[in-house]
Symmetry: C2
Subunit: 253 residues, 2 copies
Amino acid sequence: MVKFDFARLSGHVYAKTTMQNHPLKQIRRREIIRAGTTVEQMVRAIADMIVTGQMLPGEKLDEVSLAARFEVSRTPVREALRELGAMGLIDREPNRSAVVTNVTETYLHSMFEAMAELEAICARLSAERMTVDERRTLELEHKASMRLVHAGAQEEYAAHNTEFHTRLYRGAHNDHISEMVTQTRARLAPFRRAQFRLPGRLAKSYEEHGRIVSAIMRADGAAAAQAAYSHVEMVSDASAVFATGMEPGARNA
Amino acid sequence: MVKFDFARLSGHVYAKTTMQNHPLKQIRRREIIRAGTTVEQMVRAIADMIVTGQMLPGEKLDEVSLAARFEVSRTPVREALRELGAMGLIDREPNRSAVVTNVTETYLHSMFEAMAELEAICARLSAERMTVDERRTLELEHKASMRLVHAGAQEEYAAHNTEFHTRLYRGAHNDHISEMVTQTRARLAPFRRAQFRLPGRLAKSYEEHGRIVSAIMRADGAAAAQAAYSHVEMVSDASAVFATGMEPGARNA
DNA sequence: TGAGCTGAAATTGCATGCACATTTCGATTT
DNA sequence: AAATCGAAATGTGCATGCAATTTCAGCTCA
């Protein structure tokens, strides 16, 4: 049983919230330490494990193991699990262990479709509402990413890609839509992980981004929406390969 | 301090999940009794109180009072609060009491806009995908509601209205979009409650529904989307009157 | 052989208790 | 009288413990 190291999480120093029996009580609580409560940290940590594929769909999450792993009691673990359940990352049923959500193929499809629709909305709104600064940064960052394509830097391009889409969400200037699309994106992450490994996918992605950017630059909402929709469709197709080959629930702890 | 009666909730018989000291153990657990765990019931109960306006934005939800009210310990209360927080119905910060979410005016606006976009998507997809049965029922129910408009039956029309929109969500045949729009709708409920009291709103709503239905019947997705979008815009405008007049946070327990 | 039963082990649901944080309110000072 | 400080009161965060449920290995019997 490997214990979990909170400190690794998101590059922040970790300190237990409750300073029970701790001699150094004078450290300012969480003014320097941007970490939140134990539960919040656990939520992030577990969500991360699911989203990055360290935990596969169907895998069980039992409370005592998690409590041991994080070195806390079951109480905060239960709260974290409840929140993860609300986020849709795990399934919970009364009196049985939580399980990493194993979406059906049709539900997965509905999520990809929803993703396309939401991204299309964001692109359209971005085309209509982005400030000059936002537009300029979007275009600059996009052009800068060409280097990554030529270098074939998959990891780095993936990071750029996330940022690109986040810019689109923010550019829509609608917080609720941003939240919805961000959450949907997180839930789809496990199924989208390996897409940039497909040959030629990087260049294709870059080209599709280009279409979105150019539509936004000329404030053509309809074109931006269209470009964003088909971009997500491509990703969806590319991901479907992995999703179906995944044999969910196979690795049950 | 009035204690809460679980049995009143959603018309189902209530039985504590744990049968501690109960002689009748042979009743099949929760096959007949559709109630769920204590926490689930509390989530529903509290969400209901918020959504129906029995609890106003800004009102505090302290754990000990709730525990007393529901006659449980603080542990399940905390879990319920965590879930309500994830649903966006309450705000929680470490070491302070949960508070009924008091959305800012701009966030409220973003939710109404998101609602319009989502409803438009549902209407478009419904126009493209509804089965003949779904289309027929939608039209029949819509026409039947004319009676309620003439009678001025606000309560009944509100119920019909909910069902009408739910039909649209289901007709889109996309579970994830359904979930998103349903959740958004729930969060907006407190601000939309009184809209049918506005003079002439019933007839206007009926007319707008009619446009959506007719577009769906002739499978015109674009028109359906357009009609749905402007329908929600109307509701948004009608609700804004109440939202701004609400003076949130005024009634702090 | 295998389907069903049984009881112990593993695991979840909730109550209780204590440490720490925040808020409240009165005493003291200016 | 207003402002400030500090201690009691109120409330949250988490640990621990017990009852109830689920799981599963071993057994029974058709």
